[in-house]
Each structure stands twice: as structure tokens, then as C-alpha cells.
């Protein structure tokens, strides 16, 4: 027989290898953290900047513990996360169905594509002034800005995913009993496009997370962006640094969650 690789699964060693890979990745994060702290500390020791400009890592760590204990940091982080989650889910709710519609119906895409192309290059941050004028500094304004920022990556990736489905899979689905569009969508179109949709959701969460900080810098009384801008106003750079580190860590955590989801549902290969 010309085509028979060994059927026996190499599963146990595969799991071990994957675990090892994840460990190695964790280690590389650890190196990065140690490196950054070392440089930071060296700068503090050599240049001796004023505490309000660059506090030492130790002092920053102490501030971190303080802010955690007072509940200020968890509450600010929770505000930021909730705003992004709310806006991002809203954006997904609109962009995913719209993306599928535009990806599968050329006529709709032809009509809407110029509109999308016109709005897409406008940074979500450029919407902040309008958002403040329209919504004040209420939640509505920030949700609006994040909605804009997360909407396009989801939409464009969903369109790409829905459009690039191999036509032979559609034909196979119809031949194998997906008689109507609804069942064809559920059994073929959706699973075929899903990896690309997840990519869009992941990327947009990243852009949303970056945009919320900017929006909170300008117009908020809570959230990590507010913690940072407030720290600047009262000359507490340790607040600023704690805020920045928290932003980074939460960003990495969410990205990791998305990567796990991605690996679970991505049939396109390891």
C-alpha cells in the first residue's frame, strides 16, 4: 500500500511535548520580566531620578500591594475590563452576523465595502472628542469608542473567513443533505469560517484594550486609564507604573485565554 503512515497515535509524548512547550513559553516571559526589572533598577541606581519621576521597582511593588489592599486597583481594573467586555460583545453581536452576510452576499459587500473602507482608517481615539460631546463622560461614551475600535477587526476578519471558504466544501455540504441555506450555514459555512472569526475576536480585544486606556485617560473617573492620568496629576509616578504593569498583565492574560480558545477550535493546523 502506498499511503499508510503508522496508525498508532503518539499521544502521550505529544502531551508531554506540549506541556514542555508551554513551560518554555512561561520561562521566556519570566526572562522578559527579570530583564525589564533589572534595567529599570539599574537606571534608578545609576541616574538617581526623583521619586516622582521614576520610583524604584521595590517602591512600585509596595504601592501595588497598597493599591490592591485598598481595593482601588481591583476596582479600576474591573471597570476597564467590564467596559471593554461590554463594548466588545456588542461589537461582536453586530459585526459577526454582518460579516457573514457581507462575506456570502457579494451584492451587499459591494454596497457596504466603501463605507467600511472609509471609516476603518479612522483611529478609535479620533472618536473620543465626539464621544465626549455626545455622551459626556458617562459609560456610554467609552463603550461607544471601544465599540468603534473593536467593530472593524471583527467585521473584516469575519468577511474574510466567510468569503474564502473553499466552494467545493459548500457543494459537498449541499450534496450531503444541507438542503436549505440555514442548515448549510450551520453545518458548513460557520465551522469553515470560525477560525478566522476567532482571530478577529482576539485581535479586536487587543485593540479594544488599548483604546479603553486612552478613553479613560481623557474622560473618566474610574478605570486603569484614570488611575494613570490621576497619578500623573498628583505626581505619583508609582501609581502610573502600577497602572501600566496591570494593563500589560491583563492584556497578556486575555490574549492567552483567546489563544487557548483558538487552539481548541482552529482546524487549520497546529
Amino acid at each position: 500500500m502506498t499511503d499508510a503512515p503508522a496508525p498508532a497515535g503518539a499521544r502521550p509524548s505529544g502531551t508531554a511535548a506540549r506541556l514542555f512547550g508551554q513551560l518554555a513559553k512561561l520561562l521566556s516571559y519570566l526572562y522578559a520580566v527579570i530583564g525589564v526589572i533589572a534595567v529599570w533598577w539599574a537606571v534608578v541606581l545609576i541616574a538617581k531620578p526623583h521619586m516622582s519621576l521614576l520610583p524604584s521597582p521595590l517602591l512600585t511593588a509596595r504601592t501595588f500591594v497598597q493599591l490592591m489592599a485598598s481595593g482601588e486597583l481591583p476596582s479600576d481594573a474591573a471597570y476597564s475590563i467590564c467596559r471593554v467586555l461590554a463594548a466588545w460583545s456588542l461589537a461582536a453581536l453586530v459585526a459577526v452576523p454582518l460579516g457573514f452576510a457581507m462575506g456570502r452576499w457579494q451584492r451587499l459587500e459591494r454596497v457596504l465595502d466603501p463605507v467600511v473602507e472609509l471609516f476603518r482608517p479612522i483611529s478609535p481615539l479620533a472618536w473620543i472628542p465626539l464621544a465626549i460631546l455626545w455622551f459626556g463622560i458617562d459609560e456610554g461614551g467609552k463603550i461607544f469608542v471601544i465599540f468603534i475600535g473593536t467593530f472593524f477587526p471583527i467585521l473584516l476578519n469575519t468577511i474574510a473567513g466567510a468569503k474564502t471558504i473553499d466552494p467545493v466544501l459548500i457543494r459537498a455540504g449541499r450534496i450531503l443533505g444541507c438542503a436549505d441555506d440555514a442548515s448549510l450555514f450551520r453545518k458548513v459555512v460557520l465551522p469553515a469560517a470560525l477560525p478566522q472569526v476567532i482571530v478577529g475576536l482576539r485581535i479586536s480585544f487587543g485593540t479594544g484594550w488599548a483604546a479603553i486606556i486612552a478613553a479613560e485617560l481623557v474622560a473618566a473617573r474610574s478605570g486603569l486609564g484614570y488611575l494613570i492620568s490621576n497619578g500623573m496629576e498628583v505626581l505619583r509616578s508609582d501609581y502610573v507604573l502600577v497602572g501600566m504593569v496591570t494593563i500589560g498583565v491583563i492584556g497578556v492574560l486575555f490574549d492567552t485565554v483567546f489563544r487557548i480558545i483558538d487552539r481548541r477550535y482552529n482546524w487549520m493546523g497546529e
Binding site: 502506498t2 499511503d3 496508525p7 467545493v168 457543494r171 450531503l176 443533505g177 438542503a179 442548515s183
Partner: protein, 273 residues
């Protein structure tokens, strides 16, 4: 040895079936001239013709994926009006669903037919056994070689027990050795199940090896040029004299059409994607 209850194939009849397209610049291109053809129940019919002769168009019409411009096709006494799970199809590029494992691919059509889960799995396993791939049930299609993918696709098609199976150059993308092996396998399965098969190929040897009857099509516009019934018993030996005689006969007819289609290439509108 085999416990699959064969649900015999149904006859297929074509009456005045034709197809033309209108191009973007308003030209009408005749792809298929009206075709009349009767295919018996359980017959293995192979269609051979120069590329661009409309073989694939014909198959897509019969499968209900493309509407015809005129005429009709009937499977048994049911008019072809759209795809139906009673008519199976095997594609050249396998068309396995990459997000499903092998067994779920085989189960796909069964699920659409409403077969309960447990029964589905049993049936799918039986058809995987038929193509010798039970060990690969949990693998993803991308982990399989081309020949194995096509065997899964064959299992998936036979599993729904269709009355007729269309095969669109199913072995065209495979290497010569795998191809030979799968031709042999296909014949074995077909002899067990006695489905009606309409098979498209470029390969004259493949056609003679497999067919009860060969239909030769002309260059565009496609129509039936000649039909050759092959009475040789299976398994056929491609280097036997009888085989060679038929081969020569088919090539004689085909060469004429090939020359015509090459001459046409200079004048014909550029091929459209």
C-alpha cells in the same frame, strides 16, 4: 463477509439536456448540446472527453448543483431539481470537512438524513472498514495522504446509500500507484453495492479498466460522439491484447476531438475562471 445490505442503484435518463451560458459581454456560449442518454441501474458509466468539453458541467447538472438550460434528467422516476442526498458525489479534491475528524466526515450525510447518533457511528465505522481506514477514525483529514482522503470521501458517499454516485475525476490528483490501487478498490466496492456510477476521467486506461460503457464527448460544445460498451471481465488487464484493441479504438475517436479542440483554442474566447 460484508453485512451492508445493498440498496441497488437506480437508472438515470437524460432527455434533451443542454446548457449554455451568457458571458459578461453578452456572448452566449453553448457548453452542452442537447444530450439523450440512458444509464441502466447499477451500470458503471465513464465519460471521457477533451478538457473543456463540459463533462464537469454535465455532472454538476445531474447532481443538481447547476441548473440545466433545457431538457431534463431523471433518477428512477424522480426529476433532478436540486441536490439530493439520494445522489452522491465524489470530488477530485476530496472535499472533506477539515474541522471534522474522519468518522464525523463519514457521518455527515447520515446525520443530515436523521439517523440517530449511535446507529450513525456503527454505520460510519462499517464504511470506514470497507475502505480499510478504521484505525484512522479519529484523525483529522489533514493528517491523511491524498489517497486516504479519497477513500474517506468514498466511504462518506457510500454511507448515505445513494441510488447513484457521480465521480468527478476522483483520482485525478493522485499518483499513479495510489490511483491504480483505488481503481481496484472502487471496483470491489461497486461490485458489492451495485450502485449506478457516472465517472468522469481524462484517462483512457482508467476508463477502460472501470467502465461497463464509455461515453466519448466532443470538444465544446459538448455532445456525445460515441459510446463503447466494454465486455471484458473484471479484473481487466491493461496490457492484454483485448484491452489494447479497445484503447486504440477510443484514442482514434478521441484524437479527432483533441485536434478539433486544439484548433479551437486559437479562436475561442479565453477560458473563464
Amino acid at each position: 463477509m460484508n453485512i451492508i445490505a445493498p440498496n441497488a442503484g437506480k437508472p438515470l435518463s437524460l432527455r434533451g439536456l443542454s446548457k449554455h451560458y451568457a458571458t459578461a459581454d453578452g456572448l452566449v456560449i453553448e457548453a452542452l448540446k442537447p444530450i439523450d442518454l440512458d444509464i441502466a441501474s447499477g451500470e458503471f458509466l465513464v465519460v471521457v472527453g477533451p478538457s473543456g468539453c463540459g463533462k464537469s458541467t454535465l455532472l454538476n447538472i445531474l447532481a443538481g448543483l447547476t441548473p440545466s438550460s433545457a431538457g431534463e434528467a431523471r433518477v428512477g422516476n424522480i426529476l433532478v431539481q436540486g441536490p439530493d442526498i439520494d445522489r452522491g458525489m465524489v470530488f477530485q479534491d476530496y472535499a472533506l470537512f477539515p474541522w471534522l475528524d474522519v468518522i464525523s466526515n463519514v457521518e455527515f450525510g447520515l446525520e443530515r438524513k436523521g439517523v440517530p447518533r449511535r446507529e450513525r457511528r456503527t454505520i460510519a465505522m462499517r464504511y470506514l472498514e470497507m475502505v480499510g481506514l478504521t484505525d484512522f477514525a479519529e484523525k483529522r483529514p489533514r493528517e491523511l495522504s491524498g489517497g486516504m482522503k479519497q477513500r474517506v470521501a468514498i466511504a462518506r458517499t457510500f454511507a448515505t446509500e445513494p441510488s447513484i454516485i457521480f465521480m468527478d475525476e476522483p483520482f485525478g490528483a493522485l499518483d499513479a500507484l495510489t490511483r491504480r490501487y483505488l481503481q481496484h478498490e472502487l471496483l470491489r466496492i461497486w461490485q458489492q453495492h451495485r450502485k449506478t456510477v457516472v465517472f468522469i476521467t481524462h484517462s483512457v486506461v482508467e476508463a477502460i479498466y472501470l467502465a461497463d460503457r464509455i461515453v466519448l464527448m466532443t470538444a465544446r460544445p459538448g455532445r456525445i460522439k460515441s459510446m463503447i460498451r466494454i465486455e471484458l471481465p473484471h479484473p481487466r488487464d491493461p496490457i492484454s491484447d483485448e484491452f489494447r484493441v479497445i484503447e486504440r479504438q477510443v484514442y482514434a475517436d478521441l484524437d479527432e476531438e483533441l485536434a478539433k479542440s486544439f484548433r479551437m483554442e486559437g479562436r475561442a474566447p479565453p477560458p473563464r475562471r
